[in-house]
């Protein structure tokens, strides 16, 4: 009798083992798909407006609250500028706005400028409601035109010398962070880095760094 019991038990164990194997395969497959779908984390670059590495046009603007804002040009306090193009009617922009303070805290020396254009009243109401009064909010058609903004939310990262260092359509926090990562890696976009075209740009980035060191001295 014991033998029958053991045979049944062994058979059930094998069945369980096979089932577990199948479940593992299914799990691994789902994890694989997850990686694949999460992969393009870089901001989508639209090849319009000032190229990455070019000197950005300088704008002296006034924001909604009447403060003077300078976008582009040399920064006296050695700070980068993140220009965030948005619209009160864009849902993804509303999702990203609350993330800006933590991104600023993470990246350190960066000034954030919110940019849009359209009717003053509508934007002023949106600005009050968004609770982001620490960031200047400029309304300027010229600014949008110079970067050829077609889709929102769009962000441009300028360095302290007034050069465009990264830009792109940003839909998630990862996209926004990818702009800073692209700047640190010295590449135009993370896609370029992933696809292995980063050798000459990395060299370029290194060169920039040397020039900066030279300036400091």
């Amino acid at each position: 009798m014991m033998q029958t019991a053991l045979i049944i038990s062994a058979a059930l164990s094998w069945a369980a083992l096979l089932a577990l194997g199948a479940i593992c395969l299914a799990l691994v497959r789902q994890v694989g798909i997850l990686y694949e779908r999460m992969m393009p984390a870089g901001a989508l670059m639209i090849d319009k407006g000032p190229a990455v590495g070019a000197i950005a046009p300088v704008f002296e603007l006034g924001d909604i609250a009447g403060r003077a804002v300078k976008v582009g040009g040399l920064s006296n306090s050695k700070r980068n500028t993140l220009v965030f193009f948005l619209s009160p009617t864009c849902p993804v922009c509303k999702k990203l706005l609350p993330l800006l303070p933590s991104i600023q805290a993470r990246e350190g020396s960066v000034d954030i400028v919110l940019a849009s254009d359209g009717e003053f009243e509508e934007h002023a109401a949106f600005y009050r409601k968004s609770g982001l009064s620490q960031y200047p909010y400029v309304l300027s058609q010229e600014l949008g035109l110079s970067y050829q903004i077609g889709k929102l939310p769009y962000a441009v990262l300028l360095d302290d010398e007034g050069k465009v260092r990264a830009k792109g359509l940003v839909n998630t926090r990862e996209h926004l962070e990818s702009l800073f990562e692209a700047k640190e890696l010295g590449v135009a976009s993370l896609q370029e880095f992933v696809h292995g075209k980063h050798d000459d740009h990395a060299h370029h980035g290194h060169h920039d760094h040397e020039a900066q060191v030279g300036q400091h001295a």
């Binding site: 029958t4 019991a5 038990s9 059930l12 369980a16 479940i23 789902q30 999460m38 839909n171």
Partner: protein, 185 residues
Amino acid sequence: MIDPVILMVCIASATIIALAGTAPKWREPSRFRASLEAFALLPSFAVTPLSFALPALEAAGAIGVLFADTRMVSAIVLAALFVLFGAALAINVLRGHTDIDCGCSGFVAASSSTRTPKSIGWWHVARALMLAALAAAALIPATSRALMWFDYLSAGACTLFAVAAWFTLDVLLVNLPKLDSLRNS
């Protein structure tokens, strides 16, 4: 003829899985009613009574299958319910009407919010038919042999494994539409 240990495993896991499936239908009757409506197979007057009758039948079948006297009837009821459910799913998949909540995944679906994406597919049909087969296995007569302590150990452990594996598959199924929605975000 199958071994009594295998029969025990089939019956016990069918009971546990079916009861786990009915629990959320009792807790949130409105949600199950919405699922029934989404299937778009029943006349509107039949939806509300059936939204109570189906979980009641399922629970009665799940408990009845445990006892030798009621095993036959209960197993037929359970298997018929799961086959019906599988057919309803298959019709909707064939119609291309796949973006509905199947109202099936027990604990897993109950804990996920209403905002998570839902969809049905052939995997759900296969799942319903597997459940029907599990319930139908209770109809097969067992060989008579004297059971010893080791058999109860095998049956208990294998039932626990079967239920755990089943819920793992449920989670995998629930994750499928989430993965699909990630592609477009």
